[in-house]
């Protein structure tokens, strides 16, 4: 008997255990995500009070004001969101195929570079509409090549696409530096907008809005991608290859061909975003023009479960946090650094990602059986 007692002391049963959930109705998972955002805002409030001593509500309203306050800030938000969404849509087919393309940053940058090269060397020799087409095609080709090289190696020799696409980012940055060094003899490293006099190769304003076309083109891409993935034979092949390469071979899908085709598409769409960044916004290039969106877009795509329509929501959330956060720093009354916005957006995103755990798993407490059934 003594031994039993000793053993009972030595080995305790854990208080709770985790089991995998089967499925969860959509409203329930949405509710969990909303609760996660609210919880994140509450935790953020603690940080805000502790760090700045200001009212959290004031901060949040300043963020909203900074994003929606004026027509200009609203279009800034839309433009930012469109670029992020566009890249997220672009990486999605590759990700659906489980091709971990983390080289969107480089592919976008190559798209930017191709457009700027066209503008710089063709100048105003072509009519603007024709130059725009040339730029778009060149950007798509550049993005496609940048993604296609790792894609080809993956299909042919099964190289690791994650490392490969990552390395291609650095090569792209160096290439951009090289061209800037060639174009800017002063060595300042700053390229001023090209064709400011003729605005040749600049996307025109529509309804008086410079960003209208950017937003509209990304909207079309998003819908197009949704249809492509869901209703076309190509989209179906992508899903089969992504889920199981063996099944794909078994039914006679040419896996190599699908990998290369999909990666080219993914890269070409990144190139389109590069084109939009140049032609529709900056009209010049620098090495940080993709601005990390190539990486953030992966999160946007993933959080949306690779569904282009959900990506509108996730892209909005991330963009709002970014634009609203930077508005805090600009606000002359608040006198805050840019860090607070980053802290808030980090907390919100962390909570949303963390909430996935509660959507996928259920926590059971030992000895309180009645509770299981309600969860």
């Amino acid at each position: 008997m003594n031994k039993t007692a000793a053993q009972a002391e030595k080995k305790h049963e854990s208080l709770f255990y985790v089991t995998k959930r089967d499925t969860m109705p959509f409203w329930k998972s949405s509710l969990i995500r909303v609760i996660a955002v609210i919880a994140a805002l509450i935790i953020s409030s603690v940080f805000i009070v502790a760090l700045t001593g200001k009212s959290p509500l004031k901060i949040y309203s300043a963020m909203i004001e900074g994003s929606f306050g004026t027509v200009r800030t609203f279009w800034d938000l839309l433009q930012n969101m469109a670029m992020l969404l566009g890249i997220a849509v672009a990486v999605t087919p590759a990700f659906r195929m489980k091709f971990w393309n983390i080289g969107a940053e480089g592919q976008v940058l190559m798209g930017c570079l191709a457009s700027v090269i066209c503008m710089y060397y063709i100048g105003s020799a072509l009519p603007s509409w024709l130059l725009i087409i040339v730029m778009a095609v060149a950007s798509m080709a550049a993005g496609a090549i940048w993604a296609g090289i790792p894609g080809f190696f993956k299909a042919k020799w099964n190289t690791n696409e994650t490392l490969f696409t990552l390395m291609m980012n650095y090569v792209a940055i160096q290439l951009v530096s090289f061209f800037i060094a060639v174009w800017v003899p002063s060595g300042s490293g700053i390229l001023y907008p090209v064709n400011t006099d003729t605005e040749c190769g600049w996307l025109p304003k529509v309804f008086g809005q410079q960003y209208f076309l950017n937003v509209a083109i990304v909207a079309i891409l998003t819908v197009g991608m949704f249809i492509y993935l869901r209703y076309t034979k190509h989209g179906y092949e992508i899903s089969v290859v992504g889920e199981s390469e063996n099944t794909a071979k078994y039914i006679g899908i040419n896996v190599k061909k699908v990998i290369i085709r999909t990666v080219l598409l993914s890269g070409a769409l990144c190139g389109v975003i590069g084109f939009l960044l140049v032609s529709g916004k900056n009209h010049m290039i620098n090495t940080s023009m993709a601005g990390g969106n190539g990486f953030t877009a992966i999160m946007v795509s993933w959080l949306a479960k690779f569904n282009p329509f959900y990506m509108i929501l996730t892209a909005f959330l991330v963009s709002f946090l970014k634009i609203g956060g930077s508005a805090l720093a600009r606000d002359p009354l608040l006198k805050l650094s840019t860090s607070l916005g980053d802290i808030i957006s980090a907390i919100v995103i962390l909570f949303i990602i963390g909430s996935e755990f509660f959507i996928r798993y259920r926590i059971n407490y030992r000895g309180r059986k009645a509770e299981h059934k309600n969860v």
């Binding site: 053993q7 049963e13 089991t19 179906y236 889920e243 099944t247 078994y250 039914i251």
Partner: protein, 512 residues
């Protein structure tokens, strides 16, 4: 002495997600007995045993060992209670010798390999194992590896041994040897629990049989009072007709002629050497062999998925009378030739189907290329999905349920249903009843028989020799990638096939 309880389970429950794997299971094991734990696949046998051996922890219930309440949180705790489990998949280090594997992970004392080898030898002699303490694991046959696993738990002093389907990987002869050893261990007063779903083995080896059905404990009977029909009824919950109907082949004509196939695996090992055979229409050709003897490569070669070094695969088209060589053709090219070849692969969710896709999209795997350009047409596959769900009684919430959520039997119905819907002239099925319950298994046998009666050349790769003998017209036996014999299914004896299965292995080791 004789009726000491060594292990008692009280109201053990365990669920995975919404699925209850075990519900209030009670079980008693005595010293010096062999208890068979019988149940269909998915009835919770392995889950239950995994809780005793510390891999899972029960949600509720008690485990009592030698009269004491035990909390087992890890395999190490299980060892402390002298419980040892031999899993279906061996967990050995390939580059170590048997002795090294056996003493691996025991702490608290310094090792002297020589004394350890002697101890291993002593255990082997005591129970009649054949083991070479210095042999490396990668040089061992499956049955030798199993021996190492068993000695490993005995070396650790296990009194309660759990064996999870130990005969699944053995030939009939090897199984007999194992049974002899198990009997000796029982006479040494150890408790042995053997998990199985093979009835004749249960009747042969065990003292008592405990039956689980759908995670619940059904009951325990003394083996001497039991027979196959009683046990089946306990397992399934109703009476089942255990006879497979076999009709005489009608108008058998050569449909597929395979000659001189040679093929090398990626690691340079020869998978097939000079394999030749014919498959006739209206006939079921069985393929028997220890798993991994080249069955997979053979079927995949015919299906256009495996590169060959040499040989030919001639298909005689029953409509046009033309001969086509299928060698080095892709699956699409084979289909374009008008060859209606259906293939139910061994790996259902990893090859035959896409687990995360619903039934409709899985139907589409075979047909998505047809119809309008660019866009998919989901109507015909949806109708096919509905038809298969109705005809084969697939249990599923809807045609939109991902197939990985279905049970093993229903997954297989979806796969076989799709392959048969293509109206094949050749149907190949690799282990089509593996993991299926009795009712689903017999449904699959029926479907194969119907295809045979429709004049299809059926190739059936199986593992249960009793089934092969009952179902097939001819049985091709392969061993080590070589054809070691072709026997008539109506006259063949199990032992004869068993000998043919190991023939090459023995010849090779004799030459060395």
């Amino acid at each position: 002495m004789s009726k000491d309880v060594s292990l008692e389970l009280k109201n053990i429950s365990k669920s995975f997600g919404r699925v209850a794997a075990n519900k209030d299971v009670c079980l008693t094991v005595y010293r010096g007995e062999i208890l068979a734990l019988l149940g269909e696949n998915g009835s919770g046998k392995t889950t239950l045993m995994n809780m005793i051996s510390g891999i899972y922890h029960p949600d509720s219930g008690e485990i009592i060992i030698n009269g004491e309440n035990a909390v087992i949180n890890s395999p190490r705790d299980a060892f402390d209670y002298n419980i040892g489990m031999i899993h279906q998949h061996f967990k050995l280090v390939n580059v170590f010798t048997s002795t090294e594997n056996i003493i691996l992970g025991i702490d608290g004392k310094k090792f002297n390999l020589e004394t350890a080898e002697k101890e291993v030898k002593a255990i082997a002699d005591k129970y009649g194992f054949e083991i070479d303490p210095k042999k490396k694991v990668y040089e061992m046959s499956v049955s030798e590896k199993q021996t190492v696993e068993i000695i490993k738990v005995l070396y650790r002093g296990a009194d309660i041994l759990i064996l999870d389907e130990p005969t699944a990987v053995l030939t009939p002869q090897e199984a007999q040897k194992l049974f002899a050893i198990l009997r000796r261990m029982r006479d040494d007063n150890k408790s042995i629990i053997i998990i199985t779903h093979k009835l004749h083995e249960v009747l042969e080896i065990s003292d008592r049989v405990s039956v689980l059905r759908k995670g619940e404990y059904v009951g325990t009977v003394e083996t001497k009072d039991a027979d196959e029909s009683i046990l089946t009824e306990m397992m399934v919950g109703k009476k089942v007709d255990l006879n497979i109907h076999r009709s005489e082949p009608v108008n058998a004509a050569v449909r597929l002629e395979v000659s001189g196939l040679n093929c090398t695996r990626r690691d340079g090992v020869k998978a097939l050497s000079d394999v030749s055979f014919v498959a006739r229409s209206g006939e079921i050709l069985g393929i028997a062999g220890i798993s991994g003897s080249g069955q997979r490569e053979l079927l995949e070669a015919i299906a256009g998925l495996q590169k060959l070094d040499s040989g030919s695969i001639i298909y005689h088209d029953p409509k046009t009378g033309k001969d086509e060589n299928l060698r080095d053709k892709t699956p699409v090219q084979i289909r374009e030739l008008g060859v209606r070849l259906s293939f139910v692969p061994e790996d259902r969710l990893g090859m035959g189907l896409v687990g995360n896709m619903d039934i409709t999209d899985n139907m589409m795997l075979r047909s998505y290329r047809s119809g309008r350009p660019v866009f998919l047409d989901r109507h015909p596959p949806k109708e096919l999905a509905q038809r298969i769900i109705e005809d084969l009684e697939v249990v599923t919430p809807s045609a939109e349920t991902p197939v990985r959520r279905l049970s093993g039997g229903n997954v297989q119905k979806v796969l076989v249903g799709r392959e048969i819907a293509a109206a094949p002239t050749v149907l190949m099925a690799a282990y089509p009843v593996r993991g299926l319950d009795i009712n689903s298994s017999y449904l699959i046998y029926d479907l194969l028989n119907k295809q045979k009666e429709n004049g299809v050349a059926v190739i059936f790769v199986g593992e249960d020799l009793d089934v092969l003998i009952e179902l097939c017209d001819r049985i091709l036996v392969i061993g080590g990638g070589r054809v070691t014999g072709v026997v008539d299914g109506r006259e063949a004896k199990k032992e004869e096939i068993g000998l043919l299965m190991t023939k090459t292995v023995k010849e090779e080791s004799a030459n060395e």
